[in-house]
């Protein structure tokens, strides 16, 4: 089977993730959409690894999972502090800094 289908699926997932970031106001959901984009990349990596018959892509996928976990730690910490001082996680309300 051609890997194109998998790559297309990965691209679609990536686009859905990007759309989620653009459309959702809730910081946590926006962040989850970014995780979806990372996973789309993972899918592309393992597909390519399979297609080329080497392990590089699979190794990358593991690293990306670890990075994603680390990102969650930092991200949730930041969102938490914002929530504590503003009682809201809407990204549209944090717009004091502009112009």
């Amino acid at each position: 089977m051609s890997p194109d289908a998998y790559l297309s699926l990965a691209s679609i997932l990536f686009a859905i993730g990007a759309a989620g970031v653009l459309l959702r106001r809730n910081a946590i959901i926006a962040f989850m959409s970014i995780e979806l984009m990372l996973n789309a990349a993972n899918l592309a990596f393992v597909t390519a690894a399979r297609a080329w018959g080497n392990l590089d892509g699979q190794v990358v996928a593991f690293f990306v999972m670890v990075v994603a976990a680390a990102e969650v730690v930092v991200g949730l910490a930041i969102i938490m502090t914002i929530f504590r001082s503003r009682q809201s996680t809407s990204v549209d309300e944090t717009s004091l800094l502009r112009w």
Partner: protein, 513 residues
């Protein structure tokens, strides 16, 4: 059992990175085990000596080690990489000096005593009454510096991504830790985090496509595969586009750098200086390597993109900077404009271009750090005086500070006998040699606009009478004086005697593939 082959690792060549990262881990341990009273001095000692030692090691490595791939091919030891590592350590060290200052702010250093407290709450007052100071920033800094060092030497897509994350994650946190105006600081952190995560996802997806195209994540392998092609493949074009965008985000190029003004304004000023200097240096370094090494064969594809992005960045950065009334925001736009000038040199895509970019980065980063260092000193009772109006008449009350700031602004404006002039001249010349005359004309126009901006501030400092809410100048500790003094001194020295450094960048400006 059959014996396994072990990757031969040159630990000396890796030493700068190892020193910094090990020190970061030790720093985390110090947080846990050192008594509170000794933490700050312990952390400062550790951080300072780690950076200094790493800098010395870079010099030793540069003098003694043969260029080539190290750490099993994940990293590349070559001239530009070493130069940038040295520059990152130099600017980080300067930033650390400014960060460590606790005399300009009567409340302590630039960071919130305890980040978890509510802004304006009872607990926060209690913390500031007890004069608590946060020391976690120092291990975070070290992790970030370690990431920067890896970023400019990474030799495959995985290392590039991991290094990007190692440098970004601590930075997101550092941005949110300001002692004053904490709501703004937290907002900046959130924005930076969301945008940064999005950009790294884009970069990662681009990497995945590049891997799918080439079957390898190593830069040399990708370059080889690209050179074999007969027609361009959609996969690799998409990969270049996405990786380019991911890196241009970090540099702050228009239209990918909209986060820059907000984040620079909200972050604690020493951190802003660090971001504008060291992080930008590393981002440009990584961009250079990615464009020249794996995707050097696709120069005709990415060059037009860089032309347009560079023009937009220079013009919009300079124009919007004119309309700013906040000094940090103004400097943020000025750093965007400078990113545009740097991209002119990147677009030249040859050795002359590379060396001109390296020189520009040096000139720009030391000046920028000094500028933000000066911003920390100009204060009103509630914090830094960031409104430009409050800078009126500073020249009268504090001639030395105003002279230093004027020198830096003149350098940004590209006035001769400052480093900025030589730097601009270098990138313009490189671009002309590479046939990019239109880009240079745009650059000259943009620098004319930007010059008006900088002169406006000089006029404000010298020729305007102070208003009632005008700022005073805090007497800084020797740390800040050293940091700012270094920046100002280099700005002048590089303008008058640039030749040794020009020779250096010319010798170092060859990427090993």
């Amino acid at each position: 059992m059959t014996p396994i082959s072990v990757v031969d690792i040159d630990y000396v060549a890796l030493a700068p990175v190892i020193i910094v990262l090990v020190a970061a881990v030790i720093g985390v341990l110090l947080e846990a085990f050192l008594p509170e009273a000794a933490r700050r001095s312990g952390q400062l000692l550790l951080t300072g000596s780690a950076v200094a030692l790493a800098f010395l090691t870079v010099l030793i490595v540069a003098a003694s080690r043969p260029f080539g791939p190290i750490a099993g091919g994940s990293l590349m030891l070559d001239g530009p990489g070493l130069f940038l590592q040295g520059l990152i350590l130099l600017t980080s060290g300067t930033a650390i000096l400014i960060m460590a200052d606790r005399r300009v702010d009567p409340g302590g250093d630039a960071f919130a005593g305890r980040v978890s407290t509510l802004p304006g709450g009872e607990e926060e007052r209690e913390v500031s009454r007890r004069g608590l100071m946060q020391t976690e920033v120092w291990p975070l800094m070290l992790f970030c510096i370690g990431g920067l060092l890896l970023f400019v030497t990474s030799n495959d897509l995985l290392t590039l991504f991991i290094a990007l994350e190692i440098l970004s994650l601590p930075l997101y946190l550092l941005v949110g830790m300001a002692r004053r105006r904490r709501l703004l600081s937290q907002e900046a952190a959130l924005k930076y985090f969301l945008m940064g995560a999005l950009a790294s996802a884009i970069l990662l997806f681009g990497s995945a496509l590049a891997y799918a195209y080439a079957g390898t994540i190593e830069f040399a392998g990708i370059a080889e595969r690209i050179s074999e092609r007969t027609t361009a493949n959609t996969l690799v074009i998409a990969a270049v586009a996405l990786i380019l965008v991911g890196l241009l985000f970090k540099i702050g190029a228009v239209p990918f750098g909209q986060w820059v003004p907000d984040v620079y304004q909200g972050a604690p000023t020493p951190v802003t200086g660090f971001m504008a200097a060291a992080v930008k240096v590393a981002a440009v370094g990584a961009l250079l390597r990615v464009l020249y090494v794996p995707f050097g064969g696709m120069r005709w594809e990415w060059e037009p993109v860089l032309w347009i992005v560079a023009s937009l960045t220079m013009l919009i950065g300079s124009l919007v900077a004119l309309a700013q009334s906040d000094i940090k925001r103004m400097l943020a736009y000025s750093s965007i404009a400078n990113a545009g000038f740097i991209l002119i040199g990147v677009a030249a895509a040859d050795q002359v271009g590379l060396s001109s970019v390296l020189f520009y980065l040096l000139a720009y980063s030391v000046a920028t750090l000094a500028a933000f260092g000066i911003v920390t000193m100009v204060r009103v009772p509630t914090g830094e005086a960031t409104s430009l109006e409050q800078w009126a008449g500073i020249g009268r009350r504090s001639p030395l500070l105003a002279t230093a700031f004027s020198l830096i602004l003149l350098s940004f404006a590209g006035i001769p006998l400052t480093a900025g002039f030589i730097a601009k001249f270098g990138v313009f010349t490189a671009a002309i040699t590479a046939g990019a005359l239109p880009l240079v004309i745009v650059g000259i126009v943009a620098s004319a606009i930007a010059a008006a901006l900088y002169v406006r501030i000089i006029v404000r400092m010298y020729f305007t009478d102070p208003v009632s809410a005008s700022a005073g100048v805090a007497s800084p500790s020797p740390l800040t004086v050293a940091g700012v003094g270094l920046g100002v001194a280099l700005t002048v020295i590089l303008g008058v005697f640039p030749q040794p450094v020009l020779n250096l960048v010319e010798q170092t400006s060859i990427f090993v593939r």
